[in-house]
Subunit: 323 residues, 2 copies
């Protein structure tokens, strides 16, 4: 049976990846590692998947080496990262070093083992950085101009991965993943935070209310996490070594439209007020990706509409918080 090691197992995407395997009856032995315990029951898929979890800090290479040699994976889904852009502004050195070090530790152990392991390394649309309207939609061959320490770390990881793939023969496939959405997403993220506040208006039996926002004129490219994990599975199995793939919908949504969509689903009137504290400096006006490469090579395209994603997120919010 195939053996899959998932780093950053306890996060939002790790759980959906397990669900994807289970729903599609893809039998696998899975070892999850993360510095924090997962908050979900990973044993629930036991008729399909043999899942174990080991608490592990990837900054500790000796611990990872031990786990790697005990488990002997033939696939690694590398979700782990220190992904906060805000943290990276306050602690640029730590953000850069930690992100690149966990990647270097992981790949070093694979390289020294001389085992054949396919790795999917998850990158970010943040890597594109400072882009102009002419660059939209963003293509994988676009020159990157990262503008945060976090984004520089991700670019460095990608450049190292390409060298490791081309010169050391490591089987690494790379993504630049755009915004994800889906039920259970942390409410610090933009869409769940809108839903939370609009749902609170609804739950108070008010017909209208005001929410404070950052710049809602910005446009982003959102993909449902359930589509994202399907892309990751296809890339892990069949992506080309050393190649970068955008994982995105190819469609831009202005945040103000997102608010209208949520408000109309909940049948409340929402006014917005800009709070300068929520406006990020140097934020790009428009980020939309092009997904032709993954479509053409792997036949992937998003299946879940934005409306469906939002509906599911709203249902989840009500089911879990206003039962």
């Amino acid at each position: 049976m195939d053996k899959l090691l998932i780093t950053g197992f306890s996060g939002f995407v790790g759980r959906y990846f397990l669900e994807y395997l289970a729903l599609n009856k893809i039998e696998m032995e899975v070892l999850g590692i993360d510095s924090k315990e997962p908050e979900f029951d990973y044993l629930q898929y036991k008729n399909i998947l043999l899942v174990k979890f080991v608490p592990l800090d990837l900054l500790n290479i000796a611990d990872f080496r031990q786990v790697f040699h005990d488990f002997k994976p033939n696939y690694i889904l590398h979700l782990a990262s220190f992904s906060s852009v805000a943290y990276s502004w306050n602690y640029p050195v730590e953000s850069f070093a930690n992100n690149t070090n966990i990647f270097l530790n992981m790949t070093s152990v694979v390289r020294e083992s001389k085992q054949k392991v396919r790795i999917l390394s998850i990158g970010s649309s943040e890597q594109y950085g400072d882009v102009t309207k002419l660059d939209i939609p963003l293509k994988e061959r676009q020159q990157v101009r990262p503008i945060s320490p976090y984004a520089v770390a991700r670019v460095s990881q990608e450049l190292l991965a390409k060298v490791f793939a081309e010169s050391y023969g490591l089987e690494i496939v790379l993504t630049r993943s755009f915004n994800h959405i889906g039920p259970r997403q942390d409410e610090r993220f933009v869409v769940p935070s809108f839903i939370k506040r609009i749902a609170e208006i609804k739950a108070s039996n008010l017909k209208a209310g005001t929410i404070e926002t950052g710049d809602i004129g910005i446009v982003r490219d959102f993909t449902d996490v359930r589509d994202v994990v399907r892309a990751y599975y296809l890339l892990l199995m069949n992506g080309r070594k050393g190649e970068i793939y955008n994982v995105c919908s190819g469609r831009g949504v202005m945040l103000s439209e997102m608010i209208e969509l949520i408000a109309s689903l909940l049948d409340v009137q929402v006014d917005t007020k800009v709070n300068a504290d929520y406006v990020r400096p140097n934020d790009n006006k428009i980020i939309i990706g092009e997904n032709f490469k993954i479509r053409d090579e792997l036949g992937w395209k998003p299946k879940i509409s934005l409306e469906q994603s939002i509906k599911d997120m709203v249902s989840y919010k009500f089911a879990s918080h206003f039962p």
Copy 2:
């Protein structure tokens, strides 16, 4: 008086930088740091320059912080690097981490000090990596495609420097420096190694001989180190913050031409034989830079002809080894 801190002080370029200051009567207080002692007499310029040296490993941030606060430089010439491409192939993790860590340590200390310090960060033409004929001559806006762990580290350093300059206001200017030549260059480098072996033929009173080489069909862009340090001085004083400048001659020389030039200066007949051990894998056929940016903005152009550089290197070789 201006205070200049030079990292990587003990190397080939550090000594020429001091000579440049002394020859041009640019009075400065200079503190050199390096993990190895300089092999030259840095007190010889004492009528112009107040020079001190402190042995220091930049990987130790506490030591550097102490030295920085004691000296309070207003300029830093950051020459230090782990620059061996060959080492980086054998120890990719160490090469990457050490190169980026010394840069992060240096800039962190400057940033936390809140002092106004102008920094010149030296990069490499290796950063361009995999280029095609159509990209020649290489321009600063060219997309980089680094192909060695060393080159990735240098690209990462540059990307971090740009973020630090644009978002934290650090006064960092950047170079991508092409091949240097000049008297006293280490004989592991290509041109001094040719001179060494052709000079040995000459010194044996032979009229002809054969030397083993790598691929002498490759074309490189060589600048005399005395021109290079003048570029560094101008950039340190007047380069624009966050900007990258090629430091190069703009002229390509095939290594076979270089051999002919040395042979004709020494009046010996040289045949060459390729030794596969000397041929580097994945080496670019042609590397030539464009120097319009530094010419236009700072009025710099090389003054020392290739013929003069080679003549001086040959004279140095004979004066020091065959007196």
